[in-house]
Symmetry: C2
Subunit: 735 residues, 2 copies
Amino acid sequence: MEQIFTYAVPAMGIIGLIVMAIKSSWVSKQDAGEQNMIELAGHIARGAMAFLKAEWKVLIYFVIIAGIILAWSGTLVENSSWIISISFVIGAVLSAFAGYVGMNIATKANVRTTQAAKTSLRKALQVSFTGGSVMGLGVAGLAVLGMGSLFIVFYNMFVLSVGGDVNGMEMETALEVLAGFSLGAESIALFARVGGGIYTKAADVGADLVGKVEAGIPEDDVRNPATIADNVGDNVGDVAGMGADLFGSYVATILASMVLGREIISNDNMGGIAPILLPLVIAGVGLLFSIVGTFFVRIKKDTDSVQAALNMGNWVSILLTVAASYFIIDFMLPAGELNLVRNPEVTFTKMGVFGAVFIGLVVGALMSIITEYYTAMGKRPVNSIIKQSSTGHATNIIGGLSVGMESTVLPILVLAGGIYTSFLAAGLYGVAIAAAGMMATTAMQLAIDAFGPIADNAGGIAEMSGLPKEVRERTDILDAVGNTTAAAGKGFAIASAALTALALFAAYVGLAGINSIDIYKADVLAGLFVGAMIPFIFSSLAIAAVGRAAMDMVNEVRRQFREIPGIMEYKAKPEYDKCVEISTKASIREMVAPGAIALISPIIVGFAFGPEVLGGLLAGVTVSGVLMGIFQNNAGGAWDNAKKSFEKGVEINGEMYYKGSEPHKASVTGDTVGDPFKDTSGPSMNILIKLMSIVALVIAPHISINPHHNLPDDAVMEIEAEKETVAENVEVLEP
Amino acid sequence: MEQIFTYAVPAMGIIGLIVMAIKSSWVSKQDAGEQNMIELAGHIARGAMAFLKAEWKVLIYFVIIAGIILAWSGTLVENSSWIISISFVIGAVLSAFAGYVGMNIATKANVRTTQAAKTSLRKALQVSFTGGSVMGLGVAGLAVLGMGSLFIVFYNMFVLSVGGDVNGMEMETALEVLAGFSLGAESIALFARVGGGIYTKAADVGADLVGKVEAGIPEDDVRNPATIADNVGDNVGDVAGMGADLFGSYVATILASMVLGREIISNDNMGGIAPILLPLVIAGVGLLFSIVGTFFVRIKKDTDSVQAALNMGNWVSILLTVAASYFIIDFMLPAGELNLVRNPEVTFTKMGVFGAVFIGLVVGALMSIITEYYTAMGKRPVNSIIKQSSTGHATNIIGGLSVGMESTVLPILVLAGGIYTSFLAAGLYGVAIAAAGMMATTAMQLAIDAFGPIADNAGGIAEMSGLPKEVRERTDILDAVGNTTAAAGKGFAIASAALTALALFAAYVGLAGINSIDIYKADVLAGLFVGAMIPFIFSSLAIAAVGRAAMDMVNEVRRQFREIPGIMEYKAKPEYDKCVEISTKASIREMVAPGAIALISPIIVGFAFGPEVLGGLLAGVTVSGVLMGIFQNNAGGAWDNAKKSFEKGVEINGEMYYKGSEPHKASVTGDTVGDPFKDTSGPSMNILIKLMSIVALVIAPHISINPHHNLPDDAVMEIEAEKETVAENVEVLEP
């Protein structure tokens, strides 16, 4: 029976990839339109691939060096192996491949969506959403297949072949080696998210400053050398960055749940392999039902609501996954009382585990709704920024900062409530499983997320190619829906990163052989402070990097206008590729410093101060990173929509204001400040907190205060001795 | 011997107050200048008193209601008493009185400094610094006298009169009752700091928007109805707010050290009263040596450096206090090995305690230096903002935010290092004593801080009265030095608040009867998240409040211009008092919501979820509050000085820019955004984290999981039982 489940997981991954391939070839077969459209789309596609190639050129060195270090370090401790480096490389390669798949389909689907929009909204939605689905299924399919098959290999290699215990140290070694996969995936995600974030904003700001301001040509004008880089940026940041981010969360969540699943005790016996397999099975089933959901995303006539169609598909996937999870959990997990080795005081039943899955889905949905409220047009937060734009740039900024800070309240309460209730439902396993439940329909979430930038690009191509007005109107409808889903997607991404980091945190504590992270200890508290500071310096570096990279872009665009005669008269073509290259190089150069902080700080703290202080560091970075992420994402989103509101016209104190008015200019300032907030540093927080946790998990056996852990004799004796001293003191104290 | 020390403390407080009275009467006797100067100063003085009166009118209800609740709750638990309410009221009254003293002398010293500046810089420094010293000595004197005499009363009442143990539960009751004093002081500080912060910025922005922008009259023009409110604001925010803040830190630090001092064990016997008395004695000695230091702040001729004179006075106080602390600690504390009841594993000697005092002083000095670097003109951070102003409002904002975030790194590393090393030096008592050491020369620190706004006001009066250029030049020299000391003072204030909060945190854990705050427990982690969110919502409310209060002010100024004819022609006087009243009312109304969050959230969490979750909440609010405080203070300070740099002229890419240029306008936007950051929400973080910790300390006996604590039998048994279960599980787990 167990074998069926074990082998079902990679099988489900393969099904996902087959459906992806079918959908992908369907998109490719669609009409790409006229010659000028194809040409523009070609520039964008080549630019996107140029970014990937340049990124890979750097990453290959990183992967090789890190792989060697991992292979060497894997041999140093009993419960790891040099094979962790293989696992790491596979994770990195699959993550990079997932990024490639997403970029590839997005740069095909954009122009085909434009062409489809000539016919009908229905057709345009079909093309753009199918493009998004390819991305979603690719990411989820590769993750499920990769995790599922590596688990089978390592399970056989480290446990079955030596006749080991499925809940014992042998399984721990198997999972520790599997953690390399997650580390590989998350490392690549860091480069994709941070580099992509810097890229997209450098290109955006650079294109605007020289093109719109200095040369006086409109946005998305083909004469602007940075225009292609700007459109490439949308794909690099919103498609590949988001994809890599969720790929990392997905994998890490499953891994953390598996590590905690190993520790489950059922009626005084160990829980067997079922709790370890469960997160993989839920992920696989969620993938299958995401496929089912995609068929529900359709409109019959052009007047139907696109948002309703997306919601329908989303809820079908979620509800089917919840229902299936109920039966799977009921079937797989042992009956009776369950608890965890290191938390025997929290007992639960298998229905508690189902409850945790449900809680995870509710947390994800609530986070999306709250994020949408704080960034949507027409709602109180954005309206308050609009009103404050009427008194100038400064009050617009103050308004946005205030909204961003306020917007942390509800998400944090939801998150804290989720942690609290999922723990009550199924202990620490519950917290991890809640994250796994939330991530189960990642394929669908990502399809909805990736559809937005495709529609956005489609609109840009329609504009640049001078297509009829109704084409642009149709893509605008899709784009508007895409903006809403993008905001909701960011809420989902930060929530999933937070729960993932917590699940990793819980798994880390187990592997590090400690039983508590006591912030009453001065060194742990110091770790908490330093950890909480890291998101601040990370954000500072990311924001400053956008400024510097934009300057590089500005200089390049100025050079082309100066040195290539005839650009302005459409007689000469600008060297788009140079801009793409400049932006690519700058983004990769600028992401080294923040990336190094994320990778190295847990290693230094862990080895210098031990596992408990590292635990404090992780808690600090998670708490502060989640807050800074929500703050920056929502402030940026709200500023953006406050500016967009002026394009339609807004009423302030009885007067109407439009594009070009003084309040609108103030709102543009806010939007520009918000750009690196919401597209660079804000979303990078997700990766930061996950990557640091996964690094900690990987080094845990090396810094463990007790490699054989699970409360060893000497630790017990130490506690004993300490308690006696305390008891003696109490006697002295109480007369 | 002990009795001598016990009674020496209030005596030292009285000496401080006597010297204060002498200095105060000296200032009052100085010449206040011509009629128009006296009149202007009179308006400012009346405005300041109007604020205090209005504040007190509201506060009296708060104090009565909170006092009744405290009296009632004090009777509910064994180790408290209704007398805590008396202690609370005295703390509140003394804090209010300290604010009165400071405001009173500042509004006298300002005009007398202007008059003195007619003669020489030497004389102007003497008057303004003596004014500052009155504030410093008043705050420290009242604190030492209040704490010292209340301790004698409660020690006699709760310990000696019942023949109790100086290290036992009786002393704990005495200290718990004494905590009421700290709660009273900190509550008033909240109103002073937050209300004052809102007041000063509402008046500033209101005066500028209508006066400078709409009516086109210069800054500090007597025709502007809000001008007096603006000048009052400087006193309300920078003098009274800072004074109340440091009064609160000073008292809370001493209290926390005393609570931890009770738990000291010396060679297997309890440590006696010496470790409890020590923080009081150090505070008293620091006060005396601050008096000595004030005599060193003088220049012989007008070409001497004012900064050097201030530094001389400061270092004399610090070094004498350090030297004296060495002998006091050596004399008072028992020899041999020391440790704490609840942390027997950390042993130290009395020289370790001295080491902690030293560490505290170093941390304070470093924090001041770092803050100065990040906000000073001509240094890299401010220069980077200047450069980014050349590309517009948005890049100026991005630059400031980036600098502010970056500026958290070094202070946090210093703070973490301070926590770590002071704990190594003398356990948790060391962390508290480090804070006490840092605060020992509060009188001197505050004298240096308060001197700045006095000089600032003096310059304003010189300008408004149309005095000769050399007078303004002399006050400008003092003002420039004052700006530097203000920045350093903010660094000192946040560092002292952080260490104070940690000391209170440690004291709280003891009183709450818990032995750890384990963030590996899901509920404690949820508490950490919620706590870390509070500084965000608090900042959001404070920033938004400034916006609303400024609008009230704008409407009032507009009304006066409209309804009082002849203001513009100097024929009618504006109703300054109306503006003062409006600003006062608005600030007090707006600070209710943030104040309520600070006061109520620990009570709700403590009673609903227990002491350990409350511990998580406190850790969250402290870590996040320190970061947000540093970020906002430094971003605001850097923006301010970037703007000020344009007044002198700055070079960007080879071109010179001055006041009125486009980059200067962008820098004004940054300065306006920075105003509420650095004068309202940033400094409020200090109070927020201290007040929440002190509330927790006061409710600790009520939520204690074990009123008799210090590790009771049943807790020991519980731990025992849990450990057996774990051990059994391990057996099951390991084959």
